[in-house]
Amino acid sequence: MANRTDFETFVATRSRPLLKAAWLLTGDWQLAEDLLQTALAKAYLAWGRIQGGGTEDAYVRRVLMTTYVTWWRRHWRGEQPTDLVFEVQDLEDSYGGVDLRQVVMAALAQLPRRQRAVVVLRYYCDLSEADTADSLSCSVGTVKSQAAKGLAKLRDSGLAASIEEGRTR
């Protein structure tokens, strides 16, 4: 039986970074929550087996990635607005953020799911090739080739030009 308190602590402390990775995979906060919720539910069922070994994070990440790779429905772009209102900050900075976000998400959307997962794990989660391979249940060689292909596609997408343009505009 899962230790519910430990699990709740894990959810409270680790959900945000996992949710952000899920958003990079899906491009949509609702879908990201769906994805992470599914991964956490599966982890909860296995919690008695995985807790305490320091591998909880890796386990949930692995379930998250494999669930994402096997989802068959199309993903959606955009994010859910919030009711919270903050003080208006420098609009120019916000403009740059919106622009870059659109460019990055459009570029990521061109990648096949496994490549996108590799790119997110390697370049956002900053995992090693070995850890990335473990998360995706594949070989290190596959991670290397998928990362190289993903990076090449992102270069072709004009992402670098947009980043450069954002610096100079």
């Binding site: 772009r77 859910q80 607005p81 903050f86 900050q89 622009d99 270069r155 992402l159 030009a161």
Partner: protein, 273 residues
């Protein structure tokens, strides 16, 4: 081809991900979903046992387990295929890459008499979202908005180092926002209402006619159109650019399915450098 280093990609990914305000409630209550998942697994397991038993008893019959018609057991809560884009009365009206002919209504911009003040549209505040890391103000009656405070500043003639140099138009970067309540297609046109100067637009990311990579083709277009979005209602934001040649009061007519709105803004020349 531009280089994109691993460090640049990593920095870009870190920058575009907004920090969730809090752990969503549905994640903190994931136990309920886990229980349903376990229930389905048990049911699926029972079905296998039952089917095995029945098959052993009646080997000549093809028996389906009671859960076979339920589909994959671990499918997440994704939107169903029947999720209809709000504001799109027919599937055809929101076909990707097309703008319904019905949106090409006559362009009817108001005219200001000499000396009349520019009736800049009212604005509303949006919470952080759609790529904005904090709350932002946007102009217009909705559902389409021009973000910002209602005054566009630009250089004319454009400076030599800007992306507008050589196009014959000055320009200013803008962000459009579309209320989640409307997910249909959009057509945007406009002009000066206290003079006779034109208003043009860039075809940039997500717009119909965008070349699909980089900053676009740099041309100034009379019309700007966006296709309808499918899926769940979300706040849509589009980076774009307005092209101008003169300061003054301008209006945009935005046509969508079931509405036509007017957004009035002021354009101001940057001081000569």
């Amino acid at each position: 081809m531009s280089k994109l280093t691993e460090q640049e990609l990593s920095a870009a990914l870190q920058r575009v991900v907004a920090e969730p305000d809090e752990v969503p409630r549905r994640l903190t209550q994931v136990h309920q979903r886990a229980r349903r998942l376990r229930g389905r697994r048990l049911a699926a397991g029972s079905s296998v046992l039952a089917v095995t038993f029945v098959m052993a008893m009646t080997a000549t019959q093809l028996i389906r387990g009671p859960n076979d018609s339920a589909g994959p057991t671990d499918q997440p809560n994704l939107p169903t295929a029947s999720t209809a884009p709000h504001g799109c009365p027919t599937t055809n009206a929101c076909r990707p890459g097309t703008i319904p002919a019905s949106l090409r209504r006559p362009l009817t911009l108001p005219r200001l008499l000499a000396g009349q003040p520019c009736p800049v549209s009212g604005s509303r505040r949006f919470g952080a979202g759609g790529g904005f890391s904090s709350a932002f103000r946007a102009l217009g009656p909705g559902p389409f908005y021009l973000t910002g405070g209602g005054t566009i500043s630009f250089d004319y003639p454009p400076t030599k180092d800007s992306g507008y140099a050589g196009t014959g138009w000055g320009g200013a970067k803008v962000i459009w926002a579309v209320d989640p309540a409307y997910s249909g297609p959009l057509l945007i046109r406009g002009g000066q209402i206290d003079g006779n100067h034109g208003l043009r637009f860039d075809h940039y990311i997500d717009s119909i006619g965008y070349s699909g990579s980089g900053p676009g083709d740099g041309k100034a277009y009379r019309d700007l159109a966006y296709p309808g979005a499918s899926g769940r209602p979300i706040l849509r934001t589009y980076p774009s650019a307005i092209r101008l040649r003169a300061a003054g009061c301008y209006a945009m007519q935005v046509d969508g399915i079931g509405f036509s709105e007017l957004i009035v803004f002021r354009a101001r020349l940057n001081p000569a450098r």
